[in-house]
């Protein structure tokens, strides 16, 4: 039964991809402008650029996003889980809900001041934005754990650490991984922003550069590479979620 579902999903991805290509192709025919090359032209450009320098930009962008998400997760998850305890929640919740609605881009000047304009700042800006998404989800989940699970654990002789390990973490894990998966989209958007200045590496830079050179095939090749980067990260996180939270998908 699950296999059938997976096959179904694979097909829907393929069909969606084909549909996108067809629409793109038709649009390029109708517009008939160098600003929108046909998919095949872009595909050749992609292969061509991959052989020279595109793979390097892709790799750097991938690392920035992955480090950003990893940094965010490694801080947001423990903090979010700790809110199960009322004492921690009383401190963390107000801070989170005060800072969450602020557009986090406003932290940029501060980050640049503290960490310079190198890779670290870029990663930290991605991390900050993703951090709040993961923290808010993890907290909501940790605050909603049924007290019966806790009473069961206590009557089996559990310590607070046991409770985190055997109840709080596994109960929150599906929501955490879903939040991470959704945050990939945000992370890529922020990536584009932080790579559009003060760097000569990364897909964001390549997009801006190709655009300024009016090298449209290269421009679209970089955009496609960025889309593929987001999509692969999304798929990887989905696989992890299915592996670690098998009990949800029964």
């Amino acid at each position: 039964m699950p296999r059938g579902k997976d096959e179904h999903r694979t097909w829907s991805y393929i069909i969606a991809g084909l549909l996108l290509l067809i629409v793109w192709h038709l649009a390029s025919l109708i517009l008939d402008s160098p600003a929108l090359p046909a998919p095949l032209t872009v595909f050749y450009a992609l292969i061509d650029r991959m052989r020279t320098d595109l793979y390097l930009h892709l790799l750097i962008s991938a690392l920035r996003v992955i480090y950003g998400i990893a940094l965010a997760g490694s801080l947001a998850v423990p903090l979010g889980l700790s809110t199960y305890n009322n004492r921690f929640d009383r401190i963390i919740a107000p801070i989170v809900y005060l800072l969450y609605p602020i557009p986090h881009i406003v932290f940029l000047p501060l980050i640049i001041l503290l960490f310079g304009i190198g890779d670290l700042s870029k990663i930290i800006l991605i991390a900050i934005i993703v951090f709040f998404q993961i923290l808010v989800t993890t907290r909501d989940e940790a605050r909603n754990i049924s007290s019966n699970y806790i009473f069961s654990m206590l009557s089996l002789g559990a310590t607070p650490m046991d409770i985190y390990r055997h109840v709080i973490l596994p109960a929150c894990l599906p929501a955490i991984l879903t939040a991470m998966r959704i945050s990939v989209g945000t992370a890529i958007a922020v990536l584009f922003f932080v790579e559009s200045f003060a760097t000569q590496r990364g897909l964001g830079y390549l997009i801006m550069y190709s655009w300024s050179m009016m090298d449209y095939p290269a421009l679209y090749a970089s955009i496609v590479a960025m889309a593929l980067l987001g999509f692969s990260l999304y798929l990887i996180l989905e696989c992890v979620e299915r592996k670690l939270c098998a009990w949800v998908y029964l």
Binding site: N148, F151, S152, L156, G157, A158, H166
Partner: protein, 257 residues
């Protein structure tokens, strides 16, 4: 076989003047006194919301009463102890753990080695007819099987006292009778002390040698009905059984006034 030698008059659990008021002001128990003897089987019955779950949680050391105390073998209970197992109203199984992991959890927390753990868990699962389902998740089992897993998890620690909060209330009649027979056998063969909270008068009479009837909230003991015929699998179809059910029903109605 069950030994009643001499020890039968030991009081094992003693609740003295228990009162419980929740922080929001709900008064759940008022001046409740209770003695449960070693090896007893004891049903607790009372109107909905009268504080039965609260009482069990206090007996298990999970909640602190606002007044009074609970003694276990003459020592005050202030936190959960290994000898006392609790089975919750809705099984309390962890959906993210397999049947095996659920049952093994208590042993793991107590630091029992992996090999020993495995031996204990596998033999328990076998006894309860769950061997084939060791690697299933609770979601994949029927309600009756899930409840068996709940029993197995509680029994893995070899408790002296088994506290149960309406363990069979969400099961169909047939599964329910099977598991009632299972509990009866457990009590007869292991010399375990059992305390069973139930909504069902028939279940209380079938399983409890003593039936403790609680009043409406705030709960206290209205009456203790002695029921020496409990312990026989065929009790359900006997005239004495129906007479006892009527007696218990009258006590409940009396307490509800």
């Amino acid at each position: 076989m069950r030994t009643l030698s001499g020890a039968a008059n030991d009081s094992m659990i003693e609740a003295r003047n228990l009162s419980m008021v929740y922080p929001d002001g709900t008064e759940a128990l008022r001046d409740l006194n209770l003695v449960i003897h070693r090896g007893a089987s004891c049903s607790i019955i009372g109107p909905s919301g009268c504080g039965k779950t609260t009482l069990l949680f206090i007996l298990a050391g999970l909640l602190k009463p606002t007044k009074g105390q609970v003694l276990l073998d003459a020592r005050e209970i202030v936190s959960p102890t290994r000898g006392v197992a609790l089975i919750l109203q809705d099984y309390g199984l962890f959906p993210w753990k397999t049947v095996y992991e659920n049952v093994a959890l208590g042993l793991k927390l107590q630091g029992v080695r992996k090999r020993e753990r495995r031996a204990i868990v596998m033999s328990l699962l076998k006894e309860l007819g769950l061997s084939e389902f060791a690697n299933h998740y609770p979601k994949q089992l029927s309600g009756g099987m899930q409840q068996r897993v709940g029993f197995a998890r509680a029994l893995a620690l070899k408790p002296e006292i088994l506290l149960m909060d309406e363990p069979l209330s969400s099961l169909d009649a047939l599964t329910r009778e099977t598991l009632q027979n299972f509990l009866l056998a457990l009590w007869k063969n292991n010399g375990m002390t059992m305390v069973l909270v139930t909504h069902s008068i028939e279940e209380a009479v079938f399983l409890g040698r003593e039936i403790i009837v609680l009043s409406r909230r705030p709960g206290h003991v209205v009456k203790i009905v002695e029921n020496f015929n409990a312990g026989d699998e065929n009790y359900r179809s006997k005239e004495a059984f129906f007479a006892k059910c009527r007696e218990v029903r009258m006590s409940i109605e009396h307490g509800a006034i």
